[in-house]
């Protein structure tokens, strides 16, 4: 089915990189030993952090909900093993900033006991809505790296007509091989998950893109497909060009269609999911298990035995390296993700999260520390390789000059930060870093502007309120004065003041008596409550 070679298309630019995948694919996937402590960040996904629903000291079972999704774009977090909630506090998380964020720290009890009341299995086929709820309850996010909540992607809205699911098994970035191993070892389950995703989306067709540097994975999928035929699924071997694994690039290669700028694939009738996500959906629906672990590649010359592991979320990176034989003496830099899009980790005490696909322990030969950036010579090589068709050079000038309006005019937010431009730049300019800087600076400006607008609005409201209160008080006073003047015609203001004081005294007396109604009501029976309410005592 795969080699009938239906038409494939080509996206603009891209690079052929040396794969470095075989280093980590020679050994079968194993589970590292159960760690003593698991550190589970509340935000392992795009969207709002999950809300903890356990407290310190709670005993939890494997698969139990620890933190619930907070809002629509959010994902829940489950316990990867049984144990005791030891702390809920800020811990270092895998993030380029190296900052800390709230985490649930779970001390394992070594029993690894599943919770009893896992949801029912898919005995009678669930409908689309039930499937979506199951995916949401299982805390599934896109496992390709972006970690966007999968249930949101399964709900494209009624106005969008979908016709196909794209399954992403391209895995284009060098060194990373976890999807490859997943497809080799779990092909049948992935196809089952793909069927469930199709059902949830209401589409009949599933295009499955696999790069041609993974023949074993393709063979495994072909065998699995032959064992349980599904006429809707088409396996497609795509050429190995970085970054084919980008969602928009893969859609272009498989269908020839372009996802609109700033748009999502659902706008052209498609939804793209990673193979790991399909497996997670299979486990959630068929086995009733939440997302608590994933395949991850540990590779590079800095680790003794590069291989793939099935790791529970929250496992510290140090334990992964330990399970792969520890560091070699060539270990130089610790990267989470691949060499093109990954980020350096400051410490190996950070945990593996849902979006982690690779730990690259690089030697200094593998990842060369570039020398100082040279001036741009306007060669245009970056423009030729940009897979999005942007003008990286223009973006660079404007980002460097901090001209954020122009940077947006040149569509910086369409940049997928693939790093092709950096790789070909003869001047070794850290282009992507400029774009990332510009993006986060623009977000910061927008946040500040929103805050300023809110403050302006509230300040204006306050001024208006104070003005209104002042006017009301003035109106009240003048009304009172007018009332005094009409009743005491001919008396001067002094007399009025005396009269008012008498009235107050009478009122006070009346107050002291139990029966208030019998007393003749003074003309201003209401006792003035504040100084401002009182009639002006003396006015020349």
């Amino acid at each position: 089915m795969s080699d009938g070679d239906p038409t494939l298309w080509r996206f603009h630019g891209g690079l052929k990189l040396s794969g470095h995948k075989s280093e980590s694919t020679s050994l079968a996937v194993i589970e590292p030993p159960l760690p003593q402590r698991l550190i589970l960040p509340l935000q392992q996904h795009i969207g709002r952090p999950a809300e903890p629903c356990v407290s310190i000291g709670t005993r939890v079972m494997k698969g139990q909900l620890l933190a619930a999704a907070d809002g629509y774009v959010s994902a829940s977090v489950h316990a990867p093993t049984s144990g005791l909630v030891e702390a809920i506090e800020s811990r270092p998380i895998p993030h380029p900033s190296g900052l800390t964020a709230p985490c649930i720290v779970l001390r394992s009890d070594g029993e690894d006991q599943w919770i009893d009341d896992l949801p029912d299995q898919d005995s009678e086929p669930l409908d689309a809505i039930a499937l979506r709820h199951r995916v949401r309850a299982a805390g599934i996010v896109g496992l390709g790296g972006a970690a966007f909540p999968a249930s949101v992607k399964l709900n494209p809205g009624p106005e969008r007509k979908l016709d196909q699911l794209i399954l992403n098994g391209a895995e284009c970035e060098p060194y990373i091989s976890c999807d490859d191993m997943l497809m080799r070892e779990r092909a049948a389950d992935i196809l089952s998950g793909a069927g469930l995703l199709c059902r949830a989306l209401g589409v009949a067709r599933c295009l499955f893109g696999i790069e041609d540097n993974k023949p074993e994975a393709l063979a495994a999928l072909e065998a699995a497909l032959a064992a349980s035929p599904n006429p809707g699924v088409e396996l497609r071997r795509v050429p190995t060009i970085y970054p084919t694994g980008g969602e928009k690039q893969l859609i272009r290669v498989l269908t020839g269609k372009e996802v609109p700028a700033h748009g999502i694939p659902a706008e052209i009738g498609m939804v793209c999911h990673n193979v790991g996500t399909a497996l997670a959906v299979h486990e959630a629906v068929i086995l009733g298990r939440p997302l608590i672990s994933r395949y991850i590649t540990v590779t590079g010359q800095g680790v003794t035995t590069p291989r793939n592991l099935e790791v529970r979320f929250g496992t510290p990176v140090s334990e992964l390296v330990e399970a792969c034989g520890g560091y070699t003496e060539r270990a130089d830099r610790l990267i989470m993700g691949g060499p093109m899009m990954g980020f350096a980790l400051a410490t190996d005490e950070v945990p593996v999260v849902k979006g982690s696909n690779c730990i690259l322990v690089a030697s200094n030969q593998e990842l060369s520390q570039p020398g100082p950036a040279m001036p741009c010579i306007r060669c245009g090589a970056c423009t030729e390789v940009c897979p999005v068709g942007l003008l990286p050079q223009q973006l660079y000038w404007y980002a460097r000059a901090r001209d954020f309006d122009k940077v947006q005019d040149y569509s910086v937010f369409d940049c997928i930060e693939c790093g092709c431009c950096v790789t070909v730049c003869p001047s070794r300019i850290p282009l992507v870093q400029y774009y990332r800087y510009a993006k986060t600076a623009i977000w910061a400006q927008e946040r500040e502007k929103e805050k300023a607008d809110l403050a302006r609005q509230r300040h204006q409201f306050r001024l208006e309120r104070m003005e209104r209160e002042k006017n009301e008080r003035a109106a009240r006073m003048s009304k009172k004065r007018a009332a005094l003047e009409t009743t005491d015609t001919g008396t001067d203001s002094k007399k009025a003041a005396i009269e008012a004081a008498l009235a107050r005294a009478r009122a006070k007396k009346a107050d002291a008596r139990p029966d208030r109604s019998s007393t003749p009501a003074p003309k201003s029976a209401k006792i003035p409550e504040t100084v401002e309410d009182r009639p002006p005592a003396e006015k020349p």
């Binding site: 690079l15 052929k16 990189l17 040396s18 935000q43 998380i93 993030h95 380029p96 900033s97 900052l99 964020a101 060098p174 990267i335 060499p339 093109m340 990954g342 980020f343 350096a344 030969q365 593998e366 990842l367 060369s368 520390q369 570039p370 950036a373 790093g419 950096v422 790789t423 070909v424 070794r428 850290p430 992507v432 870093q433 400029y434 990332r436 800087y437 993006k439 986060t440 600076a441 977000w443 910061a444 946040r447 500040e448 805050k451 300023a452 607008d453 809110l454 403050a455 302006r456 509230r458 300040h459 409201f461 306050r462 001024l463």
Partner: protein, 186 residues
């Protein structure tokens, strides 16, 4: 000759009427320059510039009564933006008005608070919640960090706390401070 005079006076009258009508019909109430300046100010409403809020300062700048370097919360970035807008040369912040400090929010020590409402009256953006003899608290998302509530507090229970950077507010540094990751080419 006469027809020319008539024609031109007629034209003059017609255009005069047109302009007069346009002036009343498309009248702009507030000075657009003031609004433009106001948009660039951080809206802290702290009064460090010497005016009673950001808008009065913007008005003063538009009238030429105030300089562009009197806003410590806005700092260098605001001065630069104002200089660009008004076509003036940027200059350093005037130290008489204070210095640029990291963003803060007010935090009330609720154990010490006696519920006097003085801070509520001082807050320019109504970001403090409370009532007489009831505990007060700051609505953090609406606090501008203006410091105005600190002074009136009789029991000194308000602290200005620097806003910590989180993963969501973190920004990539301007290149030149770190080094990018570059793989070996094929």
């Amino acid at each position: 000759m006469l027809s020319a005079i008539l024609m031109f006076s007629g034209l003059g009258a017609a255009f005069g009427l047109l302009l007069g009508y346009a002036a009343t019909r498309f009248r702009v109430d507030s000075d657009p320059v003031v609004d433009q300046i106001d948009k660039l100010l951080p809206q802290t409403q702290c009064g460090q510039c010497g005016f009673a809020g950001c808008h009065p300062y913007a008005e003063a700048m538009a009238n030429g009564d105030a300089d562009i370097n009197q806003c410590p919360p806005g700092g260098e970035a605001t001065i630069q933006a104002l200089a660009d807008l008004l076509g003036r040369d940027p200059k350093p912040l005037n130290p008489e008005h204070g210095e640029e400090k990291p963003k803060t929010v007010a935090v009330i020590d609720e154990q010490t608070c006696i519920g006097c409402t003085l801070c509520i009256q001082a807050c320019p953006v109504d970001a403090i919640l409370g009532a007489a003899k009831q505990m007060h608290t700051v609505i953090v998302s609406e606090c501008t960090g203006c410091d105005l509530c600190v002074e009136p507090c009789p029991v000194d229970c308000i602290d200005m706390v620097v806003v910590e950077q989180t993963v969501d507010t973190w920004q990539w540094p301007y290149p030149g401070t770190g080094s990018p990751i570059v793989p070996d080419a094929a």
